[in-house]
Symmetry: C2
Subunit: 496 residues, 2 copies
């Protein structure tokens, strides 16, 4: 006999998934092909569909069924699905309708203010909006009411189970080790004489596109199920079960499009390979943004910046772009370390320092130890402390990211968590498949994909992020694996 | 004081409009950029959103409000909106849920069967599906229960107010006059020696695209609010208030993409210019498919096939494509009449004969005087009678159109109605703006667009299709205007 409540919650999940996919297409279109003046209607369309999802999420019908199911004897899989969904639903129900509306209205105004302030390089013009957002986010922490640090409620939305208590020592250790390594590199003679040589020429966009298409295919995404388009800021979206989209941007250096394509293809490959039998329920989703980012970072950095990978791709680049220079020079240029002001343009080593800076500021704002009006000053102070450089203005500094204007507090840390996870995954892969770099050298990623499929993709949301990493790598989040990897790699490159 | 019921019906209409726009994007994407394997999820997404609209349309809450409003004193505009919406809602409510589901399931299977049957050129493989559809459509006529002929219920869905009683004599007259003119042309010596000369060369797709983009811009659609993409069968979609999309296909002859782009731009221009203050209510929509088609046909035929238009565009084509030959030869080739088997490839003169054939068959099927199993035989017989040619197989004949597999009975006639309307509109335009062809000769369409804006676009759905034509042209649907136009034009071209 069919369990009526199970049927009901499965219908709800399917409808919410299909609505989410429809929103994904509306967003994809907005960032790729939409005529500029379509933006007004687009906001209305997305807002309506988001609202329909929210209403389903907090509906009493769904909640009643979930409560009934919690008391019933179910298969272990169904029981897990109910547990996961119940947690999501309860969290959503803790936020009052009035709060949701207030936040949505505030962030919509704040985005415009941020955009304007950034263009004018004046944080002052954004300040009152951000103050309102911080106030609302503090309120949200109270509503969500996770145990421990008040910021945990925000963190938990993106990285379920993660806490300030767990993350603070991880980031402290990471910060110290990264700064130490960076300082050593900066003192080396190789650092002092480094300059871009091979990357200083014209790289045809047509050829850049071909090479991006090539690596996507090699990573296992055929054109039957995926596509690559042009956009301003690279992104990826899952539009349907067998439909994932990537978008990149072509700049002077071909590394920008190539690396960002590998990054987005890492995300897309994960989404594409999530368990299809759970395509319409919560167990078929990614458990956290950290795990998602571990997949993009894995391909972008652990694979895409390593020697054997370039032993395969350098000859292709050399031929396609008619490069002057040898492999060693190219490999160094791909891996140059150089502290910069902008997070999204930073190298593999300094990236996490940008994240830690944001995490520390967010924590201070939510705790109340930092005032919004002090942010520009503190931002610059921390930049000096972490990276040794200081922005000339607010656009290069505190106004560079869109996240805060959208109320995304607790989001930044997942970038660093994912980066650490990616190094742990690669270390374990090497341990289990010790010939994998031979295969990478031949442009063969099949073994890697099968390993990720088993350890990450097909787990879906049946384990939490850290449980997945623990099971795959025999230990949870460990920043030392990441800094050991960096130290070994960059000691060689910079001969320190 | 706000009228609660008015607020409610306006909210309903806005939500239905936004859901429809979201479906439009899902469809547009499916026909342009979607990776092939996305088709499964896409069907689920569209089905869910369609279902949400249907539920809103038949909801008791909406119906109760409408009934209350019908008894209230409202502004004349609100009162008209209530009247129009009430009619739509009542029609939808007449169809039982079970019927909707049955039809949707049947047509979904029928589409696949039609596609397969067409490939194999075997009507037999589609027959039982079509029998089921005809049975359901007869049932639908009973549910809808329009006065007069049973087919009126189907006709009314696409062409509100139109009836078999009104249309039959129109089509009889049209049929007779078209066949007479066609026979005269076929007997002329010019017809006997006609052959494509200038159109037999390679036309670069890049240049075809440029010229299509050019004519779209000249018709008043900038890239801020529109775009042109590549697809299999040309179409247009309104995606948002300031976002209309066209798609075409590039073939050997540049006339295919050019004419179809003008056709689709005619639709798009209409949608774009519908009254924006009614963007989210029924008064801001097109009153019928016939009126919509009058706009596409107006640009494709009345403008795009006339002499002064080509006096402007021929030099451009000649230069772009390096044409060998003179204007007179080109103008003749653009306007060649030649009976063919395929509706969508037919010329301006024979097109409506293809429509009349379908109308007569549909009528017979619904009346019960024609059996589905006799369709291929009757199709071929009528082709011989109307166009003098006979398909070699079912793919070239009865299986060529998708419409019946989707249950779209009553749809075809609107193509001919729109074509007649377009000739009436052009005749009236000439009467009021007698220098318009001077302007067309200079590639200036501004006066035309302003005239259409006043007489068609900005009326929206405030009048019915025939009321619009009566007001603009001082008479309703009149096939003689169309046949007079054709007779005059083709007598000159064929010197008969």
């Amino acid at each position: 006999m069919m369990n009526k409540n199970l049927v009901l919650i499965n219908n709800y999940q399917k409808e919410m998934t299909l609505l989410n996919q429809s929103i994904a297409l509306l967003e994809w279109d907005q960032l790729t092909y939409m005529p500029p003046n379509g933006v007004g209607s687009r906001a209305e369309q997305i807002s309506l569909l988001s609202n329909l999802i929210h209403k389903k999420m907090i509906s009493n019908e769904l909640f009643t069924s979930l409560n009934a199911l919690k008391k019933q004897k179910l298969s272990s899989k169904d029981s897990l699905m109910v547990k996961r969904l119940y947690k999501e639903v309860s969290k959503s129900r803790r936020l009052p309708e009035e709060y949701i509306k207030d936040l949505s209205k505030t962030t919509s105004l704040a985005y415009n203010a941020w955009d304007k302030a950034r263009k004018e390089k004046k944080f002052k013009k954004f300040q009152t909006y951000l103050e309102k957002i911080v106030k609302l986010k503090k309120q949200e922490c109270k509503y969500i009411n996770e145990p421990g640090h008040e910021y945990n409620g925000l963190l938990d939305q993106y990285e379920e189970g993660m806490t300030v208590e767990r993350l603070k020592p991880v980031f402290s250790k990471l910060k110290k080790d990264l700064i130490d390594l960076l300082n050593k590199i900066k003192e080396s003679s190789n650092y002092k004489k480094q300059k871009k040589g091979m990357l200083k020429q014209h790289f045809s966009i047509e050829k850049q596109r071909n090479i991006c298409e090539e690596v996507i295919k090699r990573m296992g995404l055929s054109k039957l199920v995926s596509r690559l388009d042009l956009t301003t800021h690279p992104f990826s979206e899952k539009i349907g079960i067998d439909d994932v989209r990537m978008a990149t941007n072509f700049r002077e250096s071909p590394l920008f499009s190539f690396e960002s394509t590998m990054h987005e293809a890492g995300h897309a490959l994960y989404e594409f390979n999530l368990p299809k039998e759970d395509a319409y329920n919560i167990l078929g989703t990614a458990p956290s943004l950290g795990i998602h980012e571990s997949q993009s970072r894995f391909w972008e950095n652990m694979i895409g910046k390593q020697k054997s990978f370039w032993q395969f791709y350098f000859p292709i680049f050399k031929k396609e772009f008619n490069l002057k220079g040898d492999f060693n020079q190219w490999f160094k240029e791909v891996n140059y370390v150089k502290p910069g002001l902008v997070r999204i343009e930073s190298d593999e080593l300094t990236y996490c320092l940008h994240i830690i800076l944001r995490f520390e500021l967010e924590l201070g704002l939510i705790e109340g130890s930092i005032k919004v009006s002090d942010l520009p000053k503190l931002w610059n102070k921390k930049m000096k402390e972490l990276l040794g450089i200081v922005p000339r203005n607010d656009k290069e500094g505190v106004l560079q990211d869109v996240h805060w204007s959208g109320g995304s507090f607790g989001y930044f840390p997942t970038y660093a968590i994912g980066t650490i996870y990616s190094s742990q995954l690669y270390k374990q892969l090497l341990k289990e498949k010790f010939l994998v770099e031979e295969k990478i050298r031949k442009g063969n990623f099949r073994e890697i994909i099968l390993w990720l499929d088993k350890n990450i993709y097909k787990v879906g949301n049946k384990l939490t992020a850290e449980e997945i990493i623990k099971k795959a790598c025999k230990e949870g989040l460990n920043p030392k694996v990441f800094t050991d990897y960096l130290t070994k790699k960059y000691s060689e490159i910079y001969e320190i």
